[in-house]
Symmetry: C2
Subunit: 266 residues, 2 copies
């Protein structure tokens, strides 16, 4: 049985890509606030079909599915089965709760929906993380240093030893007995990617913040893939590229992958 | 237009109760791991019907609904409409993401499902909270000091000024311009309820950890309701009480409310 981190590294080598395609599709993104769920669903299938050979992972952001309630979750079930085994799939829900409740989320994400990995919020500590990491084939990316403007408010609180996000990185290393733990590290502050890589060599990084949020692709690739692997998430920059046609989506995704290959000398 | 915190205080006075009934129902709790979703749904309606005049709030824990995918979300839509306006309803999902994604969660929780309030994880800072607090009628309870054993790992990290959870309480006070912000404060460490009450007078507290987790009901009521209001969550202690019949559920809920009334002299 291969661990999630091994499966991820193999996908990166096989596809010569570090691209994670975020599925965050909403009416506002499509430029029509009166769009209904079938327009949105159509766009999501278009994105998947145009990028399936380029994407190491898809990362549906659960918020964009939950917006539509049970119908949105039906869409999520269907698109996961459409992607199948052709790519890894990460549930981006940033979940975390007391042990008994985290266990229900793990059953939902891994057993019911069949995701390969999940993003996890560490605020409640290790017992909120453990139910997600029992099965080595299923992975987590723990929020460490996020890409949003107010990330620093709590993540940069510093004890006499270190900052909260560094403590999270240490905790992740300590918990990684099954080789299935990674970290979410925003592209918006590249120097911190390097700092976290020093604390957590080998752990895969999921790096959001490229595109709409203005993160640095070159430094994210360099620091993230030094002594470990990194996947770079792009959501709006692909899903809503150009005129939003299949062709525009594919061109955008291909451009990202080409730049990544150049930086990585692949 | 009344703010959420005002609506909550009025419910507490009107029902002479501080009881929040958590809906965390799973096959394991029912004692039969082969239970299917219809057994679970049946139990949830039984709980609501037996406690509707005693519960100030219901708090469906979203994990227990997501476990069943789109069918679970259909159940959630239906039980919310069954409760209607007879009680306030809190979405216990501990959500939080970058602003654009938190906005989708807010649309899901408040507009699609029609919840009155939501629990929120503060790890990503204020821009992840703001989309939930624009509408004064809808409220949030921000995780501050949680009730689980590993809560201390990050929440107790201390800068030269204060601990992370104290920083969260300060942030909540600062953001509370619409009188719709509260805090989640676990019952398991009563001295900290008092400490947080000093930082955040007036903010309502949602106190979990009574029952299965061993929290202190008397101190939680006393410290929580001093200079503000507190609601006390009980999940398993009511949903799975005795032989799990409507009668056993009602007796358990009534017992909790009676003790709360005695402590509060109501």
């Amino acid at each position: 049985m291969k661990s999630f981190n091994t499966l991820l590294s193999e996908q990166i080598i096989q596809k010569k890509s570090h691209l994670c395609v975020g599925l965050d599709i909403n009416p506002e993104g499509l430029g029509k606030t009166n769009a209904n769920i079938s327009d949105i669903i159509g766009q999501s299938y278009k994105v998947v079909d145009a990028t399936i050979d380029l994407a190491v992972c898809y990362k549906p952001n659960l918020a964009f599915f939950e917006r539509w309630g049970s119908e949105g979750y039906r869409w999520l079930e269907n698109i996961i089965s459409h992607i199948g085994k052709k790519s890894l799939i990460i549930a981006d829900g940033k979940r975390g709760d007391i042990g008994n409740s985290s266990m229900q989320y793990a059953i939902s994400i891994f057993n019911h929906f069949g995701f390969d990995a999940a993003t996890i919020n560490p605020y409640m500590g290790s017992d909120s993380i453990k139910p997600f990491i029992d099965n080595p084939e299923k992975g987590v990316f723990i929020l460490c240093r996020t890409s949003n403007p107010s990330a620093r408010e709590l993540q940069d609180i510093k004890s006499d030893k270190q900052k909260v996000y560094e403590e999270v990185a240490n905790l992740a290393v300590k918990l990684n007995n099954n080789n299935n733990i990674g970290l979410v590290v925003g592209a918006t502050v590249p120097s911190e990617i390097r700092k976290i890589r020093n604390i957590a060599p080998k752990l895969p990084f999921l790096i959001p913040g490229i595109g709409a949020q203005g993160g640095d692709l070159e430094k994210s690739m360099k620091y993230g893939n030094d002594n470990g692997v990194a996947i770079i998430n792009v959501s709006r920059g692909i899903s809503f590229a150009g005129d939003m046609s299949s062709q525009a989506i594919r061109i955008a995704a291909h451009e990202y992958v080409t730049i990544m290959r150049e930086i990585a000398n692949e």
